[in-house]
Amino acid sequence: MDFQISISGFVAIYIFMLAAFAGWVIIGHVPAILHTPLMSGSNFVHGIVVVGGIYALLNASTVQEQVIGFVAVLFGAGNAAGGYAVTDRMLAMFRTSGHPAGHDAHGKSGSVKSIHAKKH
């Protein structure tokens, strides 16, 4: 059995088309109030580029490739970690009047979690 992934021609275009459509539909449902966390959240998602960076770096055979590969992983990791940190921080701040739990500078207040507990 062969697990080697091979994507070419129309298959690639199908993947791109379906993914673009999914992104469009999913994001279309996000209310305007969440546009900033949404933007930093999608910013976080393209941090997956770090995986490509690791691939490139592990396969680097010259010093030049190693240097550029290192930069790729460095930037990709920054994109992913930073995107997650700010998105998580922002989302933890949104609360309703029903849960006026005191403002918590670290954004890890229980109020958001308690909303979860109620709705699920």
Binding site: F3, Q4, I5, I7, A12, F16, A19, A20, F21, G23, I26, I27, V30, P31, A32, I33, L34, H35, T36, L38, M39, G41, N43, F44, V45, G47, I48, V49, V51, G52, G53, I54, Y55, L57, L58, N59, A60, S61, E65, A72, V73, F75, G76, A77, G78, N79, A80, A81, G82, A85, V86, R89, M90, L91, M93, F94, T96, S97, P100, K119
Partner: protein
Amino acid sequence: MLTLIPQLGIGAVDLAAAFLFLYGLHRMSSPVTAPSGIFVAGIGMAVAVLASFLYAFDVGAAARPNLPVNLGLAVVALLLGGGVAWWGGRKVAMTAMPQMVAIYNGMGGGAAGAIAAVELFGNKAQGATALVMTLLGALIGAVSFSGSLIAWAKLDGVINKPVRVKGQQVFNGLVLLLTVVVGAYIVVASADSAALILAMPTWIYLFFAFALALGILMTLPIGGADMPVVISIFNAFTGLAVGIEGYVLQNPALMIAGMVVGAAGMLLTLLMAKAMNRSVSNVIFTNFGDVVAHKQGKIKGELKPTQPGDAGIAMRYAASVIIVPGYGLAVSQGQGKLYEFVKLLQMGGVSVKFAVHPVAGRMPGQMDVLLAEAGVPYDMIFQLEDINDQFATTDVALVIGANDVVNPAARTDKSSAIYGMPILNADHAKQVFVIKRGEGKGYAGIVNELFYADNCNMVYGDAQTVLIKMSEAVRGLGLPAVA
């Protein structure tokens, strides 16, 4: 056989990661489920990164001797890049969020460009299609990288004026053309290596130099208030670049995640442009703010300054108040003091709501985040289309550091640069107070006739200072709180 298990492992984990990204983003469609959404996506990212080390079992013969070093480099880069960015993301003030997102976005674009560079310098992309895709991803990634850095510099105030020269668009067009020509030459020359004029690496350097220059040149002329559109575009660009490099590396998780973000960024870009009643190309290619030197009709009335205390007390005796926050609130970091003042009003039985314009601030939804940070419950925050009818039945509209988004010229003055832009109907309220630093014009450089209207009073000063004075005045009344 040795490569079978790693391939299976990476394939399965990346599939799971792609699903978790989609599901996580889907959960972000409500403030209630959103925190779990980013957590779900975060798990997807963590497992994908861990699984990517399985590539170590599958490296080519040329890179095998370097593997121990490369593994070490990868771990160091991950910890260093991730650690610094994490620390920065935890520390940054909420008001500085737009430039932070710009930086992270630039990093993603830079990473995509760097991956392309490794592929190109290592001559790993075989065949014209793969080469074209690599170059395309490199171009978009590099533009997003350098453009995002300029956007960061603008948002952070390092560059505080749009840089515009005559013939800039033509020049930018030429740079783009040059980039494409060099890229085409690289493709042709790789197919027929005899045709090289300069050594291949030189051409690749040239290609990246032009692409990076293009990102800088494109972003320099764009002004601060157009940044919501610019940040959205570069977010989409980075997504596209990641998706394309995903194709080059034959990694469907990158393709899907990149393309989802690309589409999402495009949608947001269009929403922002629509909220300004301008096309995306108008934002990118028009020197907005310069062109408004046209004659403006004589404005009737005069500016009527008032004291913060008087305005605060007037609001305390009103039945209903709608607050319109703008970028000025973010600049003064006044969101906390604003909510303190609002709570005083609410204790007195005043009904208070917030009205947020889609392009208020420097990135989509920035005002919503600032209000959330101050502790304002999100059910008090209303978007333009939901609240605009209510201004007419409201006693007081309090405009804080916003200008163009409440300028009635957008409704009536066909010659105005902002004509047709949906605005908040603050002028329909019985009384309007505007907190503003001074008498300057808004971003669009247009006089705001709202400020001269009979029902409008100006409160000059820094938003935070003014709000503190308003709260003091209301407390000084010593009125009993209404339960």
